[in-house]
Amino acid sequence: MNIKTELCGLPLDNPIIPASGTFGFGQEYKDFYDLNILGSISIKGTTREARFGNPTPRIAECKAGMLNAVGLQNPGVKAVVDIELPELKKIYLKPIVANVCGFSLDEYVEVAQLMSEVENVGWIELNVSCPNVKHGGMSFGTDACCAAEVTSAVKAVSKKPVIVKLSPNVTDITEIALACQEAGADGLCLINTLLGMRLDLKNRKPLLANVTGGFSGDAVFPIALRMIYQTAKVCKIPIIGCGGVSTARDVIEMMMAGASAVQVGSANLINPFASKEIIEAMPKEMKKLGIQNLTDIIGVAL
């Protein structure tokens, strides 16, 4: 059984990548298992300045999922480049995915450029889809022109392949996806979180201080799968599938729908060994389904 795959020309030992925001900068998981089993790691979304993010509560529970309104807490690109990435390199030897966010075109460009110069950064993941920050984030990802504009600006400076991470909170995901492809994106990651909300019934007000939050976890899988499928039908560039993945079967389903690699997000939070366990379960599930090479099934259902 061969679980290797490839992403924008770079080989991956396996398709499993912990999703941005659910794996910090790797340090929190290093005592749980040897991270080098992972295909890659997508680091916490990074902005130019350090950010505390939104006030708490920032987390709410849902049936089969969760809301977060962290709001891009991160130490800022300088600290990430100077401290976090070198620290991560000590414990994780493969190229990582640098998740980049911004509140203006300039910020995206600056952060992406700095990140792309770091040796252990394999890919830039352009997060135009964070629903938890005002003026920026998702607003870039819900309009095809904006998404294209930021994509081509970042492409112009990036020394590494640029993967645009799309928001599912749109009427037509393929319109945005195609615009990014045309603007030069090397790949797409879908999906980021859906915009959701919960109330605190005792206090009769929104549970999250930020009012709304990003919905992720088991519940979102069928929506993510549909968007991957629709996008893979019309786009040529590779896709990272993401959203509600918690088993090896989910990974296979996303790859059959067109994903070349798969990110695991919230599942890591409720089971810190999730990504490792999924990787270890891949060969058994592949055998059951008669899959020899994982790359054989990418997009077979299209």
Binding site: T56, R58, G65, I270, P272, F273
Partner: protein, 245 residues
């Protein structure tokens, strides 16, 4: 941190809505009192963080209050059933601080972690005085367990139905106890009051809604004088670092 299945060996009701759950399993990752476990409850997506009230070589004692659907569901777990826990989370109390007569102040379900803390303080030759605060007599739990440690235990109830009427501060006033440090866990209002009122240093245990409990999601951040901390990894903060907003 250890993740594993723990066997429920005791599950009992202490008051109307407070339960004690004792589980058996690997406790090697617990390094200090004041740490917590994160409990998987069937049908609920997120785990529930509960402080370790006591532990030894192979058992962990948890005390929890039913406040919502998750803790309600937990009450139906029977002895003999296994339960998935993340064990040994949080930084725990530092009992090596220089002090001789620490106050240990707990309110409601902030009281449980203070039991093991008090034991540790005694082991380290400190002379803790324990103040545990409740609304009313029927809600009192753990009193005998604290008493049996041989330390002074003051109880307060808001309605005066048992012990000192009022709050922790009334107990201090009435008893005139001397202290040179404090450890506290309880409702936010109490923590704020302690922080602003007591003139000595201390350690304060915080709560926040958590996504993971081990530092992975940044869901539980709060601001301290030394920067941003995550409640799940820095549950207990020195009073001189604490910022209340």
């Amino acid at each position: 941190m250890t993740k594993g299945l723990y066997l429920i060996i005791r599950h009992e009701r202490l008051t109307d809505n407070v339960y004690r759950l004792v589980v058996e399993g690997d406790t090697s990752s617990i390094l200090r009192s004041g740490q917590f476990v994160n409990i998987e409850i069937e049908r609920f997506y997120l785990r529930r963080p509960i402080s370790i009230s006591d532990y030894d070589g192979n058992t962990i004692s948890l005390i929890y209050k039913v406040v919502g659907e998750g803790t309600e569901a937990l009450t139906h777990y029977k002895e003999g059933r296994e339960i998935d826990l993340l064990v040994g989370l949080g930084n725990g109390f530092d009992t090596d601080t220089v002090c001789h007569k620490p106050l240990v102040i707990g309110g409601g379900v902030g009281i449980p972690p203070l039991l093991k803390l008090t034991k540790e303080l005694i082991t380290k030759d400190k002379q803790p005085t324990v103040i545990i605060c409740f609304n009313t007599k029927d809600e009192i739990f753990l009193y005998n367990e604290f008493k049996s440690l041989g330390v002074d235990v003051l109880v307060t109830t808001v309605d005066g139905s048992y012990g000192v009427k009022g709050f922790y501060s009334d107990a201090i006033k009435e008893s005139g106890i001397k202290y040179d440090y404090y450890y506290t866990c309880g409702p936010l209002a109490m923590l704020k009051d302690i922080h602003s009122t007591l003139s000595v240093q201390g350690q304060i245990s915080f709560e926040e809604r958590m996504g993971c409990g081990f530092g992975g999601c940044m869901g539980c951040s709060h601001k301290t004088k030394s920067g941003y901390k995550r409640v799940c990894t820095d549950t207990i903060i020195n009073s001189d670092e604490v910022l209340f907003d």
